[in-house]
Amino acid sequence: MNTEPDRTSVIAGLGMTEIGKVYGRSVSDFASEAVRLAVADAGLRLHDLDGLLVADGVAATPGVRLQRDLGLRDLALVAGVATWGTSACVMIQYAAMAIASGQCQAIACVLADTPLVPNGSAGDNFTAAAAELAPAGWTGVFGASGVVGGNPLIAMNARRHMLTYGTTSEQFGHIAVAQREWALRNPVAQMRKPITLEDHQASRWVCEPFHLLDCCLVTNGGIAVVVTSAALARDLAQPPVHLLGWGQTNRGFFERRDDRFGLISGATIAGPAALDMAGIKLGDVDVVELYDCYTYTVLVTLEDYGFCDKGEGGPFVASGILGPGGTFPLNTGGGQLSGFYFQGMTQVAEAVVQARGQGGDRQVPDHDVVMVGNNGGCLDHHATLVLGSAATR
């Protein structure tokens, strides 16, 4: 009989602060509370943690000083992670490796942000954070023309997809409408009013080809998860969510003739790698949570994971399969478009809720395998997690 403890990793705790237009609190304050909530959710004590991974927010970051704020001593692992939209999945991947190696027993992974300010434009605040880089260097060269922040970068990708494959703005709209329908069933979602395709088309241009309703929300608050071993999680408070597989692809575009910029992301490699590690096929996936900073990002990732053929993302999302009651459960909490925006933690949090079967009105009946995709930068980074409910093992 094998008496080795099971060091495969699980997400055992999930913590989310009050989110949205919450003012007067620092990013460290949100991060600290999110970690304490995640630890309590798991049924652990704060001092059971021996690892801490901290992601950068877009507008602010708590940094590794968070250890002090939490009063934690002699941690076996502390690091900051800053790969933009993939930081959440990346933190969890490195946590899983530290659990597997025996370096750590229980690691908190946290992402918090404070882009919203009273009487200010959140977009301006994001842009201001990015523009601090602008006066010099190559980032500054492009920033000098106003190409700062996510809107112009991802819009440029989306246009290229439209030019090459005939993808339309209306097809992007189907994603926005379906996710809003999911958000109506999520009590913490920021956007709780139904929208139609006509609303999507009539919403103001932000950066053509993107309308306002193609773009994600902006959120203050924080989310943390606790990663531990399957052996330890057995006696904890929540149904364990197993990390069955993961992958990462950081492409390195060389933007020149014949580059596939806008047409593919790193998901083409990271997705199959994660499924291979999990020992399952795409058809085994029950629920899909994909990065949706913009509608387009969802569409290209669906193609890249292989849920439809390359270039067929438009007809696929417009075929009536999305939304509650559809046959393809995607971004079931409303995502970043209609739920809340904590970069990749938006997808991770909803995946944990679904895998545990705690989704309430929005719970997907079959939820044994949940696939999570994170995109970072100008589709420079992609990270995938394949999560399994307790029933999978």
Partner: protein, 135 residues
């Protein structure tokens, strides 16, 4: 204003020396012949360290574009829009830059462009115009 002011630094010194002469610098690898853009420090294709520098011919075509909109004011009026294109230079590298004097002609994949330059504070930055023979 097409560009906000920028200052050169160690990474961009060579680039701004060229743009001051209204030249767009390209890097050719002495080992494999690949032609890269001004940001290259080694060959993007084979990794060789030795690059020779030349000047782009100034012809390009559109590979993608966006139209940036500002937030409408309190009275609902929109600030002026700005068109940014990815131009594929004749030599191969792509460059993101504003389209100067955009008009109502429709852009498409392959629309011909020419390189131009516009001030960014005390420096000059590359920008594009629609090629005149397209009218």
């Amino acid at each position: 204003m097409v560009f906000t002011p920028i200052r050169r630094d160690a990474d961009t010194e060579r680039f701004f020396e060229s743009t001051q002469r209204r030249e767009f610098p390209l890097a050719t690898c002495t080992a494999c012949g690949a032609v890269g853009g001004p940001q290259e420090t080694i060959c993007y294709q084979c990794g060789a360290a030795e690059l020779t520098w030349s000047t782009a011919a100034a012809g390009a075509v559109v590979r993608s574009w966006i139209v940036m909109h500002g937030k409408p004011g309190a009275d609902g009026t929109e600030p002026p829009t700005k068109v940014i294109v990815i131009g594929e230079l004749y030599e191969g590298p792509w460059w993101w830059a504003p389209l100067l004097d955009p008009d109502d002609r429709e852009l498409a994949d392959g629309t011909p462009l020419i390189l131009d330059f516009a001030p960014a504070g005390e420096e000059l930055l590359p920008a594009f115009r629609l090629a005149p023979d397209r009218a």
